[in-house]
């Protein structure tokens, strides 16, 4: 059961911050930054991107040349398959290092090749959701969701479930499936688990690679709404890539068209 109650817009955020097993984090600072952002008159630049990269060799060489600046919280990179969207997203996450580029997220510099700055994925605090979800097959749903909460050598316990994980399980209506393994889940369930996993540790942004592509039409609408709700509740900047114009229409505050590695429209 998905709750879309407007009055509890900030309930998720509050539950997460008030949970008893709160690992030390400057959560309050972030809240106030977000509050400031909402109340300020001038929209702050969220993303400033300038990337050049070459993939492959010879005949199959593919050049990516992307620049954009956006103040939007919800951005969609729209384009056909093979347009270079995934590559762009991976560069934003730090999973691929471009030949040349600059990535600014709010006031942080994630990448600046001219100054030889390149934060590792771990340092960027930008979560990445894969098209195939990449759920850890050997861990339960609860362990998957709570994965980022365990910082050390061991995975979260399979028996004792962290409060923060429980909050997400309830929010997504997955409490019954907590001890199931990924291969026992449906596509829609996997997507929800992947979403929770990428958000439980309160990252600064979320990148989604074709999140709805593997799902049936009827579920797609449901999950799009869920994503929008979560995004506004957490006030979390998201970039979503897709080839489906419907996704862009439903989700985007800012749509960027990409084809053959270049921006062809906004």
């Amino acid at each position: 059961m998905l709750s879309t109650n407007d009055s509890s817009k900030n309930s998720l955020n509050n539950s997460l911050n008030n949970s008893s097993s709160d690992r030390s984090k400057p959560a309050t600072n972030k809240n106030s930054v977000r509050a400031q952002h909402r109340n300020s008159n001038q929209p702050q630049t969220v993303w400033q991107i300038d990337l050049q990269h070459t993939l492959g060799q010879g005949e199959t060489q593919f050049n990516v040349d992307i620049q954009f600046k956006s103040t939007a919280q919800r951005i969609v990179l729209l384009g056909p398959s093979g347009a270079g969207k995934s590559q762009t997203l991976m560069m934003l996450a730090g999973l691929v290092e471009p030949k040349q580029g600059l990535i600014r997220f709010k006031e942080r510099v994630l990448l600046d090749t001219s100054k030889k700055i390149c934060l590792t994925p771990q340092q960027r605090r930008v979560s990445y959701m894969f098209q195939d979800y990449a759920l850890f097959e050997h861990l339960t749903v609860a362990q998957n969701i709570g994965f980022a909460l365990s910082k050390g050598l061991f995975n979260p316990s399979s028996k004792r479930i962290d409060d923060k994980v429980n909050v997400w399980l309830d929010r997504l209506g997955m409490a019954d499936a907590a001890l199931k393994y990924p291969h026992q889940l449906s596509g829609g369930q996997k997507q929800r688990v992947a979403l929770a996993r990428s958000l439980v540790h309160q990252p600064d942004a979320l990148l989604l690679d074709e999140p709805f592509a593997a799902l049936d039409r009827d579920i797609r609408g449901e999950l799009r709404s869920l994503l929008i709700d979560v995004q506004s509740e957490l006030n979390l900047p998201m970039i979503l890539i897709t080839h489906d114009a419907e996704d862009a229409q439903a989700f985007a505050q800012d749509t960027i068209l990409i084809n053959a590695g270049k921006i062809v429209g906004e």
Binding site: A93, G94, L95, T120, P121, Q122, Q123, R124, R125, V126, S127, Y128, F130, D132, Y133, A134, L135, F136, E137, H138, F147, A148, K151, G152, L153, F154, N155, P182, H183, K190, R197, S198, H201, P203
Partner: protein
């Protein structure tokens, strides 16, 4: 077969197990570590180095043994260093036998582990790193659990190979009863000396142990479904 022969057979079995376990433990760390590096990083000469590391599998064991003797002996670069600074001598010791066994079984563990690591979808690692988990922990929490079946199968193969190791061990460790005379060497000498009863008993012993190891290894070898990415 006399009771003395029976006792020496059991001593040889115990010695062989000790040497093989140590050799396998070394390879578990060394071969698996290197396999992970080779599976996940691209670097110049990667294929060339892989082929060099697999070489012990191709070389005749006595040839390998000869080169080990030259390297690890007191006149060799490594042996001289060890003797001079640590007063360690490897030739004619069970430790030397461990090295010979480890080197000859290294390719088996290395290749299996590399294949196992390569079969793990890199997206798992990438997802974990975007969740701010350190590389070192990702290896133990994600990659290793997903690859462990293939690694185990390879390790067991390596263990079986160590048990059967003969040519190189003979050169490096000699054939000293109770210290370096492993099962395979004992069989060989029994055959050479015409001690058929003892030889037959030893062959049966080795076969049973080897059979058990190999059956376990087959059981652990990944079956298609489990290791495909989500």
């Amino acid at each position: 077969m006399s009771s003395f022969e029976f006792d020496s057979a059991l001593i040889a079995l115990g010695l062989t197990l000790k040497i093989s376990l140590w050799a396998t433990a070394i390879n578990l760390i060394l071969a698996v570590g290197l396999a992970y590096y080779f599976a996940t990083r691209r670097f110049a000469l990667r294929n060339t180095l892989d082929a060099i590391l697999t070489l012990p599998m191709v070389l005749p064991p006595t040839v390998l043994g000869y080169y080990l003797l030259v390297l690890l002996g007191r006149q060799g670069p490594i042996g001289e260093f060890l003797e001079h600074y640590f007063n360690i001598r490897l030739i004619f010791t069970w430790q030397g036998a461990v090295i010979a066994a480890a080197i000859t079984s290294f390719p088996l563990v290395f290749k299996s582990a590399r294949a196992a690591f390569e079969s793990v979808n890199p997206q798992f690692r990438q997802a974990a790193s975007s969740l701010s988990i350190h590389h070192f922990f990702i290896f133990f929490r994600v990659t290793l659990p997903l690859a462990w079946r293939g690694i185990m199968a390879g390790t067991l193969l390596g263990f079986a190979r160590s048990m059967g190791e003969f040519g190189a061990t003979l050169m490096v460790a000699g054939s000293i009863p109770g210290q370096t005379q492993t099962l395979s060497i004992t069989v060989y000498e029994a055959v050479q000396a015409g001690q058929d009863q003892l030889a037959n008993f030893l062959v049966m012993l080795i076969s049973i142990v080897g059979f058990l190891i190999l059956i376990t290894s087959n059981y652990l070898t990944p079956r298609g479904m489990r290791n495909t990415h989500a």
